[in-house]
Symmetry: C2
Subunit: 360 residues, 2 copies
């Protein structure tokens, strides 16, 4: 079958062996699969990602950089066939999504980051029957493929302490930031301010429902807290409490992931802020802990999602609580993947590009 193989920093469209489903596994045809920022990073720095995972005590896959791998973990697919042991839960022809995990005899494999099993930038994949979720009627292949990236936003929101009256700032309106905005609004939370240097991404944040759009080149994102009912300084907080008021708490989602953003937030945010860190910064970063202490800040570093958050996101999309259509800015066939990786470097041009093997 045809697949886009990442090998030695290059993406090459070639013929690879057909994947074989084992017991409890299902052969599927890839319908649509988003390109994730992690794929861009992994193309050149997969060893560094695995090193970080290993040093974090996680189970990093044994990985041969020369053997190559087929990326793609944000997919929708169609059931084709079953592994040994007979028919699985869902009939051939059923359209499905799945968390990108393959349960095998040797444990769990990350679909899209494995030498042994291809991800969604291939004509076919093997998935786990137990993890398949049927795509509800009417949802397009492309929209269904957005379940995974939007589940990342749902998880970040679920990890925040939302049990009180809060106001929100989303810093960085790439796919993660947009998913956070969508999840907050789908749950009725707000006001939500969104900040990004890119005009196109600010426009996208507005389409996802952000209430207040900030260009950080023109003004600090922290000048707008008062507009959102947050007492922005210790003095303002004390005066509000003395007046018997309960000012809103600031909850900030860091969705950028480059060095310096954390300290800029520590310095600019209101005392008592909660900062949910969803942007994956792969370099070392410098902070001033004394300032975080004086302000009594709360940091929640978040990653991935739980199975119920993944399923909940599919429902949110299927039932119209989240409109993912605006973020899908382009679709390419397997031949277009290498070019799409390059195009994603420009935030003005693209947000999410989907790969559809059916496009040729």
């Amino acid at each position: 079958m045809r697949a886009v193989v990442a090998r030695s920093g290059q993406l090459i469209c070639e013929e690879i062996a057909e994947p074989q489903p084992g017991p409890g596994q299902v052969l599927v045809k890839t319908l649509s699969c988003g390109i994730c920022g992690s794929d861009l990073h992994a193309l050149h720095h997969f060893d560094r990602m695995m090193d970080s995972t290993r040093r974090s005590g996680g189970v990093a896959p044994a990985f041969d950089p020369k053997a190559g791998m087929v990326f793609g973990h944000e997919f929708s697919a169609e059931v084709l066939d079953y592994g040994p042991g007979g028919p699985a839960r869902l009939k051939p022809g059923t359209r499905v999504v799945s968390m990108p995990i393959l349960i095998g005899p040797a444990g769990m494999i990350a679909v899209g980051y494995s030498n042994d099993y291809p991800g969604g930038f291939a004509e076919r994949m093997v998935l786990s029957d137990a993890l398949l979720l049927e795509v509800p009627n009417g949802l397009s292949d492309r929209q269904a493929a957005m379940t995974e990236p939007f589940a990342v936003g749902a998880h970040a929101v679920a990890k925040a302490a939302l049990d009180e009256d809060a106001a929100f700032l989303v810093v960085g309106c790439g796919p993660v930031g947009l998913a956070v905005i969508a999840s907050l609004k789908a749950r009725g939370f707000g006001p939500v301010a969104a900040a990004d240097y890119s005009p196109a991404r600010r426009a996208m944040a507005e389409r996802m429902g952000a209430d207040l759009i900030i260009d950080p080149a023109k003004e600090s994102p922290h000048t707008r807290w008062t507009d959102m009912g947050v007492a922005a300084t210790g003095a303002e907080q004390m005066m509000a409490r003395m007046a018997g008021q309960t000012p809103r708490r600031a909850i900030i989602f860091e969705c950028v992931g480059v060095p310096g953003v954390l300290q800029a937030l520590i310095e600019g945010c209101p005392p008592g802020s909660q900062i949910v860190v969803a942007g994956v910064c792969m370099q070392a970063d410098q902070i001033e802990p004394a300032m975080a202490i004086t302000k009594q800040l709360d940091f929640r570093f978040v990653f991935g999602y739980a199975p119920e958050e993944f399923a909940g996101t599919l429902s949110d999309i299927a039932e119209g609580r989240i409109d993912v259509a605006p973020v899908i800015t382009s679709a390419v066939g397997l031949d277009g993947v290498a070019g799409a990786f390059t195009a994603l470097a420009d935030p003005e041009a693209q947000v999410k590009i989907v790969v559809e093997p059916g496009l040729g």
Copy 2:
């Protein structure tokens, strides 16, 4: 009256003007007053502390380094006289403690860090009538003076998310770490492991009730999680969940406050740990956010205490739930303060030194 004045990095015992209580204020005689790590830092770096406070949006006092100041914010005292407006709540002779805050016409002043009002390293102070708490019968002046530093531990524990089955590691057994251990044990939480390079401080941690004592020169503090019922790696956590078990959550108190400790904790701690940062690191520090994200860590930077935590700590000490006596390793008169600051550099020799003007 006699006082120890900090001026240009020196501590000099000299005569200063008698403080004058205003309306709502009370003149007190200092009975006992602990030396805090912040005092040691402020002697040489007060300008840096204030700069950090100002950049954090806090209200830093206008400060003249040449005018000098009298430190001391961990005190017990005796009521002597009232300001204009007549008798206050408590009679002369009443022994009291207070949060080190003076409420005046110009707002709040930090007692012990002010050019205008002396702290506890002086024969007499002015305090706010509204904040005075009577020392319950039988509690010694010295024990009562420990209310403030132990309230810092109570606050750190109160800020942790303790609503589930947890195991605890206290890193650094100086006064803050010891106060955290005491507060955890007073509330019935455990098991509590305590780590410190100093044998004397490890012994002190044991006296405060720590269940497991770790010498980080001999073993990583993170080798003992399994002994405390915590699944220490992602793989162990997954296996425990698959077996229907709920492993304990790791809650770590960082009570050291020097660069490098945060990253060592990020690297060594179990996934999903909560890290309460109570050690005040005044320098910039480097972390690897990707690792904190992979492990989904939760950081709570904490500072000070609330009035009810201060009052609760006085009760804990008075009613025997916390025994502060072991941490008081020495007492000096005003003439001994400069020497005591030097002695506190050696963790083997001293934990908490109290200053008692009555000792001469």
